[in-house]
């Protein structure tokens, strides 16, 4: 009985540790994004307008770019390390969906723009479409 209880606690502890490892990585990435977003919002020139060029100090632009590069590269690698193989497959598939949305979205938008039907392709909208595509794919693969 005691042995059974110990085994019981052991698997529960391992499951909690596993989830904690994932939460730590996701939480750290979320915090980095939150701090960068707060700093950009805090130092943004209100006169320049939303999403305008030259609206934050160069030091903040460079440091944010470096932080994003390191956080996303290291975070993605770390997330893959703490995830199990099923989660890794889902992450890979969602990344492929995001990439395809952008790879298909840009030329489609480009030729429509060449035809004078739509405004010039916008990188931010394409990026957002990729993110939304990956979120839908993640929900589909995770919850179906």
């Amino acid at each position: 009985m005691m042995e059974a209880t110990m085994v019981d606690q052991d698997w529960q502890m391992r499951a909690r540790q596993r989830q904690r490892r994932i939460n730590t990585v996701v939480g750290a990435l979320f915090t980095v994004g939150l701090v960068c977003g707060f700093l950009v919002g805090f130092f943004e020139d209100d006169e320049a307008g939303l999403l305008a060029a030259n609206s934050i100090p160069p030091w903040l632009a460079i440091s944010s770019a470096i932080v994003f590069l390191i956080a996303i590269s290291f975070g993605s690698w770390k997330l893959m390390k703490v995830s199990d193989e099923h989660e890794r497959v889902i992450h890979t598939k969602t990344t492929v969906v995001a990439g395809n949305v952008m790879l298909i979205g840009y030329p489609t938008w480009f030729v429509l723009w060449k035809g004078g039907l739509v405004p010039e392709p916008d990188a931010l909208w394409l990026f957002m479409a990729g993110i939304i595509g990956s979120m839908i794919a993640f929900a589909w693969y995770k919850l179906r």
Partner: protein, 67 residues
Amino acid sequence: MKNRLKVLRAERDWSQAELGARLDVSRQAINAIETGKYDPSLPLAFRIARLFGMTIEEIFDDGGDHG
């Protein structure tokens, strides 16, 4: 791919979360394998077989003719 994971787990009165922890994978991974939505890798299939003291073929059935 069909498998007997759900039956084998039930025989031992393990939850999906418990089996997942024993195999160091998530509860969702066990659910996906049991429902046939995800085929485990060969290393995970070996871990499952070892845990239940069986061969991979005794747990997983690819529907092929093994004769």
